[in-house]
């Protein structure tokens, strides 16, 4: 059984749902969460961390709902990795890392800094005296302090330039902890997540093994994502011309932007198995798979 999973959760703010009926299992090998900006990825991460109560459905932590779980044990098991901007600017690096440690283990700071490839001599510095990549390593060291089994990472490398990003990815790939990783960078999920979920307008529109899902998408939105990645020396990104800002309120939420939309799409598609281990919510998944 997996440590953490969402079962048909609906999440929202002030009574307004933004994530609808999502089931997601944090299986081994890393789980990637990709999708539209504003589609509910961070909201789901908050729910997995117990920071947001589902409007319906449940987050399961082992055999019981997260809301009934022992919070201390949960925090030892599951740790968030925020963007480096979240570090307290006044606090020295060593103190930031030590915060996560029980008092008698505070001596482990140097060891943790070394584990993420930082010189322990940096412990006396403050965040602004480090580079962006170094700060991101500090955030990871902090999360690792309690020895978590699962990391929840929301855009851990998006603020970093490519050379630094590559080194942080190496670091993450080498850790023992499992991960839920949110990113807009498809190369990052390809590298770090065996399974991926694609979100659009608060719904899972496709899920499956990352490599297959990106090589042969089953949903038009996943395909659009893959095709919109800019290529070095390639043509400028093209506007689709279907610039509908608001997802369709009825039927398939993607239909106002979808190049394959047909009359049938006015009826909402169910998320269903479309190939071995792969699910998609599209009436024309078979055509998209080709």
């Amino acid at each position: 059984m997996t440590m953490l999973r969402a079962e048909r959760v609906t999440l929202g703010y002030g009574g307004r749902p933004v994530v609808h009926d999502v089931s997601l299992d944090l299986t081994e090998g890393g789980v990637g969460l990709i999708g539209e900006s504003g589609s509910g990825k961070t909201t789901l991460a908050r729910a997995f961390l117990g920071l947001l109560k589902p409007m319906s459905g449940d987050i399961w932590y082992g055999e019981r709902p997260l809301r009934e779980a022992d919070r201390r044990r949960f925090r030892k098991d599951v740790q968030p990795v925020f963007q480096a901007e979240a570090l307290d600017p006044r606090m020295r690096i060593g103190a930031s890392v030590a915060e996560g440690l029980p008092r008698h283990e505070r001596g482990r700071v140097a060891e943790l800094l070394e584990q993420v490839g930082l010189d322990p001599a940096l412990a006396g510095r403050r965040p602004h005296q480090l580079s962006g990549g170094q700060r991101q390593r500090v955030v990871i060291a902090r999360a690792l302090a309690v020895g978590p089994r699962l990391l929840i990472l929301d855009e851990p490398t998006s603020a970093l330039d490519v050379t630094v990003q590559a080194r942080i990815l190496d670091l993450l790939a080498g850790l023992d902890a499992e991960r839920l990783l949110i990113t807009h960078n498809l190369a990052v999920v390809r590298r770090l997540c065996r399974t991926s979920y694609v979100l659009f307008a608060g719904r899972v529109v496709e899920s499956g093994p990352t490599a297959e899902l990106l090589a042969r998408p089953a949903h038009p939105y996943t395909r659009a994502l893959r095709d919109a990645v800019p290529r070095l020396g390639g043509p400028p990104p093209e506007a689709s011309g279907r610039t509908e800002a608001v997802p369709a309120a009825t039927g398939c939420p993607y239909r106002l932007r979808c190049p394959l939309a047909v009359a049938e799409c006015e009826r909402a598609p169910e998320l269903r198995e479309v190939a071995d281990g792969r699910r998609a919510a599209c009436h024309r998944a078979a055509d998209v798979l080709g």
Partner: protein, 245 residues
Amino acid sequence: MIEVRELRVSYGGRVVADVPELDVGAGECVAIVGESGSGKSTTLLALLGLLPDAEVSGRVTVCGVDVLTAPPRRLRELRGARAALVIQSPQAALAPSTRLGVLMRRALRLHGREATDAAMAEAMRAVLLDPELLRRYPHEISGGQAQRFAIALAIALGAEVVLADEPTSALDVTVQAEVVAVLRGLLTERGLALLLVSHDLALVSTIADRVLVMKDGAVVESGPAATVLATPAHPYTRELLEALP
């Protein structure tokens, strides 16, 4: 629209950005690429006179305003209306207790622009944002929505110069494509001058006319984007290109 000569920014004698020459004309896009901490963002801020604690020397002209010598009032007129700054994480910079719609309306009025609901909704839709979001507070939108709001604001203000620091880093690539297409449209139709800081070299290669590569505060290479990114002369530029996924 932007003309920089011998710009040097330092803190306590330590030089953090040294840019001998940088020009962005109307309808042009110039990109600055390089490692974090290499001086890219510092350069952007210096162009708008936004580094009060730094020692800044050289000559910087933006929309005809001599930024390093202009009185504060002229700088305030320049910033916002004629030259807009779009930062990577605008959420923290937006007044937390003011709804987005009120923020936008105020900014438009302040600079004597039309602030009708229709004009504001149009600017939002241009970056694929639901105009409904104008009723929300800054902490009630996602990171990518905040980035797009900052761009919508620059569009609505009709800025002639946009200085953008990683303006699409929080967007998925389909939305990024739409936003970049909008910016490209403004380059050709309105003669916008765009100075873009980005670590996405692939994206830069598709929209920038010229590129500056910065490392440790210095410009190590510059030239037409097509040349620099296809046949990089400096080892550091090669390193950046090799790190591409």
